[in-house]
Assembly symmetry: D2
Homo-oligomer: 350 residues x 4
Amino acid sequence: MDKIRAGLVGITGYTGMELARLLASHPSMKLTMGCSRSEAGRRLGEFYPFLEGLPGSDLVISVYSPKAVAENCDIAFLAVPHGKAMVMARELLEEGVRVVDLSADFRLHDAATYEAWYKVAHTEKHLLPEAVFGLPEFYAAEIARAKLVANPGCYPTSAILGLAPALKKGLISLEDIVIDSKSGTSGAGRKAVTTSLYCEVTDSFKAYGLAKHRHTPEIEQELSILAGQPVTVSFNPHLVPMNRGILSTIYTKLAADMSLDEVWQIYTDFYKVCPFVRVVPKGALPETRYVRGSLFCDMGLVVDPRTKRLIIVSVIDNICRGASGQALANANIMCGLPMAEGLNQAPLLP
Amino acid sequence: MDKIRAGLVGITGYTGMELARLLASHPSMKLTMGCSRSEAGRRLGEFYPFLEGLPGSDLVISVYSPKAVAENCDIAFLAVPHGKAMVMARELLEEGVRVVDLSADFRLHDAATYEAWYKVAHTEKHLLPEAVFGLPEFYAAEIARAKLVANPGCYPTSAILGLAPALKKGLISLEDIVIDSKSGTSGAGRKAVTTSLYCEVTDSFKAYGLAKHRHTPEIEQELSILAGQPVTVSFNPHLVPMNRGILSTIYTKLAADMSLDEVWQIYTDFYKVCPFVRVVPKGALPETRYVRGSLFCDMGLVVDPRTKRLIIVSVIDNICRGASGQALANANIMCGLPMAEGLNQAPLLP
Amino acid sequence: MDKIRAGLVGITGYTGMELARLLASHPSMKLTMGCSRSEAGRRLGEFYPFLEGLPGSDLVISVYSPKAVAENCDIAFLAVPHGKAMVMARELLEEGVRVVDLSADFRLHDAATYEAWYKVAHTEKHLLPEAVFGLPEFYAAEIARAKLVANPGCYPTSAILGLAPALKKGLISLEDIVIDSKSGTSGAGRKAVTTSLYCEVTDSFKAYGLAKHRHTPEIEQELSILAGQPVTVSFNPHLVPMNRGILSTIYTKLAADMSLDEVWQIYTDFYKVCPFVRVVPKGALPETRYVRGSLFCDMGLVVDPRTKRLIIVSVIDNICRGASGQALANANIMCGLPMAEGLNQAPLLP
Amino acid sequence: MDKIRAGLVGITGYTGMELARLLASHPSMKLTMGCSRSEAGRRLGEFYPFLEGLPGSDLVISVYSPKAVAENCDIAFLAVPHGKAMVMARELLEEGVRVVDLSADFRLHDAATYEAWYKVAHTEKHLLPEAVFGLPEFYAAEIARAKLVANPGCYPTSAILGLAPALKKGLISLEDIVIDSKSGTSGAGRKAVTTSLYCEVTDSFKAYGLAKHRHTPEIEQELSILAGQPVTVSFNPHLVPMNRGILSTIYTKLAADMSLDEVWQIYTDFYKVCPFVRVVPKGALPETRYVRGSLFCDMGLVVDPRTKRLIIVSVIDNICRGASGQALANANIMCGLPMAEGLNQAPLLP
């Protein structure tokens, strides 16, 4: 069978880099087009020496054009900034190319909320109704039929997966949910800015964007759907001196007295059919290294009788599960492939 | 003037190492005795090559004996595990040596609470009434008169300093205080265990001891004193792949509507006379690197109108401010020296 | 077709961990037995949470017994210390199990040299003649027929591959070869020792074992074979605060005036048929991250007319190419599989 | 006594940052002027939050003007790029301000060599004869009288100190000296470039500038003076994922058979009067962390009878000893203060 032809618009950032990595060893999909204005004309293997000699490394990077993508690709990944992605998505859909958009442009169903948090006008509002939020555990059927998938943000992926059973099963109060998230530095992107320099990041730890990070409405949208009523959260990100990984510590209040055994069983049952969500044993806690380079979301549970809280620790790889790996899983589903195709490699340790 | 003679019992851990470092450049105090069973007989400069050639490096490490300490020292630091420290403290006090105990043995006023959390019998309960909790910003007068100072834990130092103005001034609800703390790996100690190996820690992030860390009662004791009524908190630590530093993100609920301007002014006024507490400008947030190697506690404030929360970010160096530097500040006060003597070096960046 | 059944003796170290990782996604080989005295009785997925849910994670760790290995495995990997491996290899060969030994026990053809450098008696000298040095680029035919493959050391792999074309083609003087190697900390093993703790390794750099590291005779043995006459080298290792990777900077003297163009062409031709050796473009230099988690050896060349030197920079992943990945490549060849089976994943970046 | 007034031109880079740090706790010198075009108008403590509250933090950053520096400063440090520094040095000398130049502009006595390696015209050749190479161990008398001190480069400092006794005492052949140096990432400067990003540097290792780094002629100049005849070296730098530190492994050939005891004694005697050079015990090797934040140069010696080589391992902190700390030592000497004033802090560990 011929391989599915994938296009990648935006290759210079970490999500583009990760998609190029994953596609290099995908058994049924191949990179047939890679677009970047700044790097056009270079071979992919020259630009990314780690990919040299692997499938796709001889591809010559080109300037984006919707027509060229349509000619060469069955599906396209948009790994470009929000604002830019919405226009490209529209152009590609008009050309008949299915799109997985890694930006935030189609994640929020409500354009006004998008515009309030992102301070950008949404020029393609008509596409919002057909965009599917690409969390495969919850929306696989819709993704399979979708022409446009809005790939979830990294923090939301960890938070939503962590809270879903608790909200769906009514375990917790909808008040007072605090999500304290910690992300590896690849989450800050690959732009050359002083604050992302090695010597500014290593051997230090900081919070940023407290109470006003743009992933907040995305988290609230999905939690509200799960809870069946509006949910407001306090979402607060931090930067960790490491490459990859997000760990979200989620503080909730139990709706009623409940033992760890009971909560753990509910979580385990909830995710029984989801091979990439691993509820770790009672008493254990997840670590970001255990999911490095993979699609896994590992989850640990703590019930604190002193404060009547359920604490959920949810861990993902921010650029694989939190971006490009999830995008590829979505593309797999859209193309009729098994969700896990090309994503079955074990996490890299140490 | 002759230098004050300091003894250090326990030199092989990171707190002992840090005290040796600080004493090597202290203008009015010198290390006259360093005790370690395992390293006895070696020169300090041989054991710690980084101290070679500096004052104190020619000291020969010896086995602890209360009499020898009494002969050679005006004051003694105990950098040994809890349980062991209580006996030594009693012995040294009997010999007339003033003691700064870096362990947890005398931090909790209530022996039953100590025994419940530490699972160890307290054999020196009679000393608890005279032990002073060594947080110089709040107890300087008592420290000056004390024979036995219980040096605060690292996490409690960051949490108590962060919450003190809010509790003292009644800004927040006493319910629902969540302290999400992140510590550098020196906090895990210098014992040779697999989980502390470089390749197990680097490029990863994890939580541990959620809802049951032993620093919880210490935090609650001091917050209750500040609030004038019992305070229960949810305290939850995490491990960061970095050497030094603690950042505590503290989630509280405002007792009444309040602007950031108002909260910031109250905090700034509260700490106006405290040179080592720095409330960072409105809109800014502290980073652990900015306090590396110093006694500073940096504090950032966020008011979130969406959730009516006050979020406090409190940052210290866990082994300097959170242990040995604070111990030295306490010793300075006990000996009639300025609190900051020998502690005025700028943080090391990068 | 049934999968080839592989046994792994020694699972707790980093080489055992890496083999478990690689076998979890191998399409034609599976882990049927994992041996460790200290961890016997635990499920592999419990001991290694990162492997949970992947093929092999339900395996119960057992105590090594040659008979049990013979019953359950077609081939066995020995990831145990030198000295212990030689006996196990003999036992397994007697049981008819083919062996890839990751220790140093069968790498040196001369038992006296082994005993001089390793300070251990070689009790299985009779097996030395049949042991094949497992460098697939040079010994693939012998490996295919071998019952016992001595998997090369990590440093030797980088040094030998780096020097082979220069020696084989007579480009350099045999005098004055200096190999300055830098290794990631996984090379120090997973033993719980203070010197391998995170806080002792991070943010620092050191040399160790200068002029007396045990990999020296292994390097000299293979270089002498390539040169056709005895070669003595100065080999000097260093420790880098990173997980994986070895970079060897190799200083040689050109036998005659030669341009970079000429040397580069000879290297490129030499390795044309070797998909896992990548000679980087003229003017470029390799980095350890570009080979992370892979079998690649990347090589950069510099000709310095001022000093008439050829400097070769050779880069591998020390636990994949330098140990477990190469062991798996050898096992593939021994079992009639393509060398690269299960080893085609792209390096993990960042 | 009034403090000596110091000016610092260029505060945004790591050397400027380090000078600001050191001056904040200098007992007899204070920062009275800090110049930066891009940050002019900001308070120093605002720009560098880690310095807030310390002496100098209230200084307002200004635009450089020679007249203003002359009015406000007794001495000036130039922490600006080469090419720019030479003009400023001339201007300041004309105004009567003594200058410590941290750039390379006045390090090479021969303008033609400077122009060949730096590809810049030297516009102030007339100042070269009076510029003193600021290595305090060798040129203290000249520094004391100097109006213009050329502060040595970081790599040269480690290499020259490491080789000086061997060359001065004729221990080694002048042929075949190879200097393999490894530097922390602060050495790459604080410019916002992709290659210096955290995720590009961490967990990786690379060589750069092999055989053509600009510090080569500076090393050769000083080694030739020490040897009394021209010395050519192969100097090759590498980048380590750490903040601070340089380790140079220096490969030499012994001129005659010599034991480690003999070499070690010669080195120890040579540096007996130099408190900041520490020859580590026989059998030990230095580590960069042992000198972190200090003026120390630690040195380890290995004699290899197999290859008749003397290997010297020389370790410094690249931004303290290798730049700003050494600059401050030079300024101390120029101002009649003890060389070590303000530089006596113990290295920061861990």
